[in-house]
């Protein structure tokens, strides 16, 4: 059965994020993903508060990165969280967001290797081992906990590029595919499948999640309007090859990029076309979203993550998703 995840960016006061988290659990979501950017509230503080206010929902960073948090600290954070919410914790890890890392003065060095090495160190420590590791990016010399970590923690690898997708399938218990369009998701699932096959696993053993920019409202125009700012940033950050795959006008994309840099929001958002919305978000009325999710399901996903902005009114959108979308797939 398709699982539903929800992503929150902890950019608002903690109690708002927690209110939505409790609501999401009550309304049938299976997974909670909290983004990790140093310029928002801390991911593990937010997750700890979420863990203490919930009972069932699985939760984890979506996604953390190896560069700002050393692997031993990631291991410590999720092992500690797993004491508060035993069996509910997952680790989402990816290479990170280049712009955010650059603003922290941190270089994204050998992303593929950095993610793989981090996972190896984290897994070793969670298994209660003393980890000595000589990696190309990370080293550890007898790193171990002075407490006994509880059970194993599934690792989800956030991936977009072909090599990372393949590796995610190969070493992850889950793959977080950062894409919305069936064309992109289908392509990504096939790459993850190669990694899964190489590891001698079955696709059924790996949770493949489409991690989407999502917006729903009964009124299509309102749903679209809420998605526009997020899509503008996605277009601005997408390489030409991705834009061309969706026949997005490269000049328009450049126009959006420049307008965002100059903080000319009206111009940037005004240049977002319906083609861009279709390519880089799942948005519309509940029925339209169900259709799109069905297409993604055929591509091979097992989890659908509703990500920012979720809708023009987050609280009402969570209720709408529960009543019209989750109910459709779970009944």
């Amino acid at each position: 059965m398709l699982k539903f995840g929800i992503e929150f960016v902890p950019s608002e006061p903690y109690w708002k994020t927690l209110y939505y988290t409790i609501q999401a659990e009550k309304r049938g979501f299976d997974h909670l993903w909290i983004t990790d950017h140093f310029n928002n509230r801390n991911v593990y503080v937010t997750l700890t508060a979420a863990a203490t206010h919930t009972e069932k929902i699985k939760l984890g960073p979506g996604v953390t990165n190896p560069y700002l948090i050393n692997p031993v600290m990631t291991a410590q954070s999720i092992a500690s969280l797993n004491e508060i919410a035993p069996g509910r914790v997952v680790l989402g890890i990816g290479a990170g967001d280049k712009t955010t890392l650059e603003s922290a003065g941190v270089e994204m060095r050998r992303p593929l290797t950095a993610v793989r090495e981090t996972i190896e160190i984290v897994r070793g420590m969670i298994e209660g081992k003393s980890v000595t590791y000589e990696g190309k990016v990370f080293q550890a010399k007898g790193a171990r906990f002075l407490f006994k970590p509880q059970e194993s923690i599934p690792v989800y690898v956030g991936a977009q590029g072909p090599k990372m997708l393949k590796m995610a399938g190969n070493i992850g218990e889950g793959v977080l595919i950062n894409a919305c369009h069936p064309k992109d998701v289908g392509y990504a699932v096939e790459l993850a499948r190669k990694g899964v096959d190489e590891a001698g696993k079955n696709m059924a053993d790996v949770d493949i999640a489409a991690y989407t920019s999502f917006s729903v409202h009964k009124d299509l125009e309102k749903a679209n309007k809420a998605a526009v700012p997020v899509v503008a940033y996605i277009v601005a950050g997408s390489p030409s090859i991705i834009l061309q795959r969706h026949n997005v006008d490269l000049k328009k994309a450049e126009e959006i990029r420049e307008a965002l840099k100059a903080a000319q929001w009206g111009q940037a958002f005004g240049a977002v076309s319906s083609r861009m919305l279709e390519a880089f978000s799942v948005c519309g009325t509940p029925d339209m979203c169900v259709d799109r999710i069905n297409q993604l399901l055929k591509s091979g996903i097992s989890q659908f993550v509703v990500g920012s902005p979720i809708g023009p009114n987050v609280r009402k959108s969570i209720d709408l998703i529960s009543d019209k979308i989750i109910a459709h797939f779970k009944d």
Binding site: E12, P13, L18
Partner: protein, 98 residues
């Protein structure tokens, strides 16, 4: 008059509507930093236990709503929620404190 006294007389059939309206005001508020920590924790603890429709929950929501958005709260109580008596009680307390 305390917030408890104000919400005590709200009939059962109007409690969900009031709760919904107040939560909407609180979550949409751009003045979230004005939310006292004790009130935020109280509301979240109650929310994780069940719907926010009992006296204690409604009182906490009303207190938070008035603190964050006094004018919007009164306007919503009068216009959208059609709870004129409650709106008047809020206005009276605000005038005394003000």
């Amino acid at each position: 008059m305390t917030h408890h006294k104000m919400v005590r007389s709200i009939p059962k059939e109007n409690r969900e509507k009031l709760s919904d309206g107040l939560v909407d005001i609180i979550l949409k508020s751009k003045r979230g930093d004005k939310m006292p920590d004790r009130l935020a924790k109280n509301i979240l603890n109650r929310w994780s236990q069940g719907p926010l429709t009992d006296d204690d929950s409604l009182a906490a929501l009303l207190e938070a709503s008035v603190l964050l958005e006094p004018e919007k709260t009164v306007e919503s109580l009068k216009q959208k929620l059609q709870m004129v008596n409650l709106a008047k009680a809020v206005e009276q307390v605000s005038a005394k404190e003000g």
